[in-house]
Assembly symmetry: C2
Homo-oligomer: 283 residues x 2
C-alpha cells in the first residue's frame, strides 16, 4: 500500500503537535516545519504512511534532542487505563462469549488517547465503545487456528491500549505469548518502558521489533524479530499503523485487530469510520 | 500577520478537497499534491495564510482547467440560505435591538457551509447559532461612526453567507452600500455570480476587489478598489480570511464581523473557538 494523499495533511499536523510537546521554543517549531514540509514533497519515495510518519517524527527528535515527545502523554494514558482495568475485568467476567469480548476489549483500548477530562468520562466512553460489536469479525478461522496454536505474537500499538491488551492475554494464557513493541519511541506507540508501566504478567515475553516507525515495516525490523514473526503460530496485529504496514504481507496469516479511525482505512477495510474490525488476511 | 504553522496542514487538506471537487482523476490529484507540497515548503515567502491559500488553489485551477471547483457547492449553499431567509426576517423583526441582531445574523451566515442533511437541520442549526450573542461587540464606536456615515463598504466572504448579509444591508438601507466580492473564484468565497443568485437589492453596488485570494490582500486589489476602500465612510470586513489579511491595516477604521472558527484566530482575537466577534481595529 502506498501513502494516501489524505495522510499528508494529517501527518504534518501531527508533526507540529509533536514539536510543541517536545519544546516551547517557537523558532524550533518553525525549523521543524520547514524541514518537515521539505520531506513531505518526497512522500512518493515512501512505501506507506507509517514509513513517512516515522521519518517526519525523526525530524522532531533531531531538532529538539527530545527522544520521546509523547512520554508524559503516554504515562497519563497508561495511568488512566490502569484505573479502568478493574472495570474491564468485571465487564469480561460478565460475558458468555469470552473470546469475542476479550478481543473487543483489546480493540477498544485504541480509544485511550481520545481527550477526556476525567476518569469518569473515560470509563463512560470505554463502556459506550465496549458495547459496540465488531463490524467485521473473522473469528471462525481464528478459533480454528487458535486450537492448534501453542504460541501467539501480538504486535502492540499505543501506550495505554497495552493495559486493555492484558485482558486478551489473560484469556489466552494457555499460550506462550510474545508482545512486540517499537524499537524506539514514535508518537504515542508503546515501547518497553510503557509495557512495564502497564503491569504485564511476568509470563509475557516482551520484545522489540527494532523498528521506529508507527507501523510494523518488516524490512526495518531486526532479523531476530522477523524470524519470530514468521515462526509464530498465530499473529495478532493491533491498530491502524500496523495494518497499513502489514496489509500487503501475504506470506503468513495475520489477524488485524483495530478501530478504523480514518476514512481512508475504513474504506480500505470496507467498514464505516469508528467501526471495530477483527480481520484475517486470508492466509 | 504571518502564516500560522497550524494553517499548513489545514491548507493542504483543503487543496486536496478542491482537487477532488474539480476532477475524479486520481492521477491529477497526485500531480496537484506533488506541486502543492512543493509550494508549501515556501510558506515563509507569503505574508499571510490567505495569500498562501490563494497560490495553492491556483495549482488546482491550472492542473484541472476547472476555474471554480466549488461552483456547485456554492450554488447549494445559496439555495439553502434563500430557504432560511424568511425565517431570518421573522427573527430580526421580533428583536428590539435591531442593529445588534442584524450584525449577528450577518456573522451567523458564516456557518452556511457546515454540512447539514436537510433544510430543517439547517434552520435548526441557524436558530441555535443565532441565539448566541457576540463574545466581543464594539457596537458603541460603530454606532457613533454610523451616525455620520453616508456610505458603507462590506467586504464579502462565502457564498450563501451573502444571503444573510442582505438582512444587515436592508437594516442599513439609508446608506449607499457597496458589496465587494473576489475578483476570481477561490474556494467557496462569493464572486459576482453568487451575489446575483443571492438576490441582492438592486440598490446595492456590487464590485470586484480584483483579488483572487480568500482574504482581502490590498496589494492584490485593483487601484480602483483600493481607492474605494480608503474613501468609504464605514468598512465592515466579513469572515476569517479577510480578518487575517486586514488585521495589520491601520490606515483606516475597519469593523471585523466573523465567527472565530479556528483556534489560532480565536486566540489572536482573545475569544473561544466558535465565538462570534464584531471588533473594530481601534482606528
Amino acid at each position: 500500500m502506498e501513502v494516501f494523499l489524505d495522510c499528508l495533511p494529517c501527518i504534518l499536523r501531527q508533526v507540529l503537535e509533536a514539536a510543541r510537546l517536545a519544546t516551547d521554543r517557537t523558532e524550533v517549531h518553525e525549523e521543524i516545519m520547514q524541514e518537515a514540509t521539505k520531506l513531505l514533497t518526497r512522500y512518493r519515495k515512501f512505501p506507506n504512511s507509517p514509513a513517512l510518519t516515522g521519518a517526519m517524527h525523526q525530524i522532531v527528535k533531531e531538532f529538539t534532542g527530545v527522544f520521546d515527545p509523547y512520554r508524559e502523554v503516554k504515562k497519563k494514558n497508561i495511568r488512566d487505563a490502569l484505573q479502568v482495568y478493574p472495570f474491564l475485568q468485571q465487564f469480561l467476567a460478565a460475558q458468555k462469549d469470552q473470546i469475542y469480548w476479550a478481543l473487543k476489549i483489546a480493540a477498544t483500548g485504541n480509544i485511550i488517547d481520545a481527550a477526556v477530562n476525567n476518569i469518569q468520562d473515560l470509563r463512560h466512553e470505554v463502556e459506550k465503545e465496549l458495547n459496540k460489536g465488531f463490524a467485521v469479525c473473522d473469528r471462525n478461522q481464528f478459533e480454528r487456528e487458535l486450537e492448534r496454536a501453542e504460541n501467539l505474537l501480538i504486535i502492540g500499538d499505543n501506550a495505554g491500549e497495552t493495559v486493555f491488551d492484558r485482558l486478551l492475554m489473560e484469556h489466552l494464557s494457555n499460550l506462550q505469548i510474545t508482545y512486540a513493541v517499537r524499537g524506539e519511541p514514535i508518537i504515542n506507540d508503546a515501547v518497553r518502558e510503557d509495557v512495564r508501566a502497564s503491569k504485564f504478567d511476568e509470563g509475557i515475553n516482551v520484545v522489540s521489533t527494532g523498528s521506529k516507525t508507527p507501523g510494523l515495516i518488516l524490512a526495518d525490523c531486526t532479523e531476530e524479530f522477523r524470524t519470530r514473526f514468521y515462526q509464530a503460530d498465530l499473529v495478532i496485529s493491533k491498530g491502524q499503523g500496523n495494518f497499513e504496514a502489514l496489509m500487503d504481507e501475504k506470506e503468513r496469516s495475520i489477524y488485524f485487530l483495530l478501530k478504523a479511525k480514518c476514512p481512508m482505512l475504513a474504506a480500505e477495510l470496507g467498514v464505516g469510520v469508528n467501526d471495530y474490525v477483527f480481520k484475517g488476511n486470508g492466509r
